[in-house]
Amino acid sequence: MQHEEESTLFGLMAEFETPDDLLVAAKATFAAGYRKIDGYSPLPVHGLGDAIGFPRTKLPWLVFCFGILGGICGYGLCYWVSVIDYPMNIAGKPLHSGPMFIPVTFELTILFAALSAAFGMFIANGLPQPYHPVFNVESFARASQDRFFLSIEADDPQFDLDKTRNFLNGLNPHEVAEVEN
């Protein structure tokens, strides 16, 4: 069953030449009630996320939490090692020598936060995903070079092959292509 469905159509894809065209088209598409849409561009297009109705990413919160976690781990590590597990009098410093634990705490805060930023982004984006239906479109190779694409996916409730194609053609694209699944 599912196999059958997948093999038919992923959606329709319109090709544009400039980011502004894409932005305008995306806004129009969203306004027309389509929700399962996505834009593809070789560079980040400001406002495109808003235009296709993507809410603000929660990534900063993740990073903040991981940063705090890293800080706790860093200070906790220093404290546990130096005070609890391996207490040793070094240069007459108190076992709990706060200022000297700060550098490691700081570095681990950064490390945790930075790793969570990068990997959080990849995971949230579902990468790695080497295979994706959009790659089936012949001209899509230029999505990473100099062209801008807008796709409306077939499982959008409003999707209707002919109507949607007409709609996309109305947005003055360079080309509209069917995306095989």
């Binding site: 207490p87 040793m88 790695p128 995903q129 080497p130 295979y131 790659f135 089936n136 479109v137 012949e138 001209s139 899509f140 190779a141």
Partner: protein, 218 residues
């Protein structure tokens, strides 16, 4: 543009990342524990010896005290491996024909020491003193295990530094009355926690110094 990758690449890529993580984790696990496994630490492994001397037979069977052979254990750093003469004290009379004892007799005849292989071989940068442990109430058994039950000698503990420190940080866990040091069947009382503390105080064990580097590394 054609697809570069087949559809299966999607799960394969994720699975391979996961697998790589797992492999790294397991390698780390091995590295962390390599010194703790018996293969490396030789715990429970009987090293081949020129004579298959049985502590079990001599101690449990014959009732010979540790100090009968390891005569210097109470007074020096080194417990002492008995000279052939000690063996021959009895074995000049009994089991005189036993082939298993031929190396002993040969050693006695030729005045050549038997070359025992060390079982408890600490690194050379570790200074271990038997006498202080014995006189402060650390039983033989605490480090060497149930030697009286060992037909062939083997390590009972890793002798890794973490094992040493386990006691040095809190000797009250293992300390026993002095007259029980050579008792191979000593059982720690239920109130070892309190008893240990009082013994540590009685024997004037300076716990604060026991983890100084120079206590063992001199």
């Amino acid at each position: 543009m054609a697809q570069v990758f087949p559809r299966s690449a999607n799960w394969a890529s994720k699975a391979s990342i996961l697998a790589a993580l797992l492999i790294v984790a397991s390698i780390l696990g091995v590295v962390l524990n390599i010194n703790r496994i018996d293969y490396v630490s030789m715990v429970g492994v009987a090293i081949d010896q020129p004579v298959h001397f049985s502590h079990k037979h001599h101690v449990t069977g014959m009732g010979i005290d540790c100090r009968y052979c390891h005569t210097t254990v109470e007074v020096s750093a080194f417990a002492g491996v008995p000279p052939t003469e000690t063996c021959m004290t009895c074995h000049s009379q009994i089991w005189t024909e036993a082939p298993i004892l031929e190396p002993v007799r040969a050693s006695f005849r030729d005045n050549k020491a038997i070359e025992w292989n060390r079982v408890h071989d600490l690194p050379d940068f570790v200074y271990f003193n038997h006498s202080i442990h014995v006189s402060q109430g650390i039983g033989c058994q605490s480090c060497h295990g149930q030697v009286d039950q060992m037909p062939l000698m083997m390590k009972a503990h890793t002798l890794n530094m973490e094992w040493c420190l386990d006691c040095h940080r809190d000797p009250a866990q293992f300390i026993r009355p002095r007259d029980q040091v050579f008792n191979m069947n000593y059982e720690y009382p239920a109130n070892q926690e309190t008893l240990g503390k009082s013994l540590v105080a009685d024997y004037d064990v300076q716990t604060s110094q026991l983890t100084n580097c120079s206590i063992c590394h001199r």
